[in-house]
């Protein structure tokens, strides 16, 4: 049972990669990349989980209360921000691709043009 979150992370990564490879639309491809990257959120949070632990916020709980691992949560925060920026730049590139080549199907973008 306790290995299930890790397997979910593996599944998200693999299904995201499958989506990227079989994608027929660049926006769909970018979203599949987001799915693949979300596997790292699940992985981080699963590693940091403690049974009975609460959120690592000591505003209203006494020091020493068992909490989940805050280090991996901070890593996840960084991960989310980077993922959002990557998505923004890739979507901007998609807009330019659509303008310049008139198509957003990756299969039709294979040949390089000068």
């Amino acid at each position: 049972m306790s290995v299930l979150p890790y397997l979910v992370a593996v599944w998200l990564l693999l299904i995201g990669i499958v989506g990227i490879v079989t994608s027929r639309h660049l926006v769909h491809l970018v979203l599949c990349l987001s799915v693949a990257q979300s596997s790292t959120y699940v992985l981080f949070l699963a590693i940091g989980y403690r049974p009975g632990g609460t959120a690592p916020i000591f505003a209203d709980i006494p020091a020493g209360t068992p909490v989940v691992d805050p280090v991996v949560q901070a890593l996840t925060l960084t991960d989310v921000v980077v993922e959002a920026t990557v998505t923004a730049v890739l979507l901007a590139l998609t807009v330019q691709v659509a303008k310049r080549f008139g198509t957003v199907d990756p299969n039709e973008l294979g040949a390089m043009r000068g």
């Binding site: 693999l14 690592p56 916020i57 805050p70 280090v71 949560q73 330019q96």
Partner: protein, 249 residues
């Protein structure tokens, strides 16, 4: 390469990757294993040495403060990159057409949507500022609050107003704000070098744990990141929304 050959290669590599990953995660520490020392030490440092009750904020802006500086610069670079990519092919005449189209579109927006957007924009800005300012105490902080602040822009857009198109000045202002916020983070990092022992070291009063003005430089960094995230997202959203308007002409 043909589509079928590519799929066959991916299937082969995917199965291999799946096997490797499953073998790798089987050995990862389970939840009932004793927590790593880093978890306890980081909690102790954030709570007792930095006077913050939100341990995640303590780690993000103290133990991993330099990482967060890099993260913020990534965000800055992404906002600049999106601007450069999307402004490259823009001309003044098409901009004017797009602005006119936006004016016409405003008339088509239902009055209820405009009223809702206008009514919610103010409370959302207040809520975003609250989340930014309380990042050292409760869940939230600069990144989360900044996104909420940027959401106010989307509400204004829903209400049928156009921020960026008619004149360039609001976007210029956003760019300057973004650059200043990014620079503020760097200055706090350098301030630790000048006033304390090393970069990112705290050099202002820590305050009382649990009070609003606590955490020393963490609160300053939260505010800087909040402004940076809000302006970077505003810039990215404005550029992408401009594209939608340009396309509709």
């Amino acid at each position: 390469m043909s589509g079928r050959a590519r799929l066959a290669m991916v299937a082969l590599a995917g199965v291999a990757l799946a096997v490797v990953l499953v073998v790798a995660v089987i050995d990862l520490p389970r939840p009932d294993a004793p927590p790593p020392r880093s978890a306890k030490l980081s909690t102790s440092v954030a709570l007792h040495e930095r006077h913050v009750t939100n341990i995640v904020a303590g780690i993000t802006f103290d133990l991993r403060g330099l990482d967060t500086l890099g993260e913020e610069l990534i965000l800055f670079a992404a906002a600049v990159g999106v601007s450069v990519l999307l402004r490259a092919q823009r001309e003044d005449s098409t901009m004017q057409d797009a602005a006119d189209a936006a004016e016409q579109r405003r008339a088509q927006v239902p009055a209820s949507a405009r009223a809702l957007g206008a009514a919610l924009a103010g409370p959302i800005i207040v809520f975003g500022a609250y989340i930014v300012a309380h990042g050292q105490l409760t869940p939230g902080g600069g990144f989360q609050g900044g996104v909420i602040l940027a959401a106010a822009l989307l509400l204004v857009y829903v209400a049928g107003q156009v921020l960026a198109l008619p004149t360039d000045s609001p976007v210029d202002l956003v760019e300057v704000t973004e650059a200043l916020a990014a620079a503020a983070y760097g200055l706090v990092a350098v301030g630790g070098l000048i006033f304390a022992s090393a970069a990112m070291t705290n050099f202002v009063a820590l305050g009382v744990t649990g009070h609003l003005l606590s955490g020393g430089t963490i609160l300053i960094l939260e505010v800087a990141v909040g402004i940076e995230v809000a302006s970077a997202l505003t810039l990215i959203l404005a550029e992408l929304l401009d594209q939608a308007l340009l396309r509709s002409t």
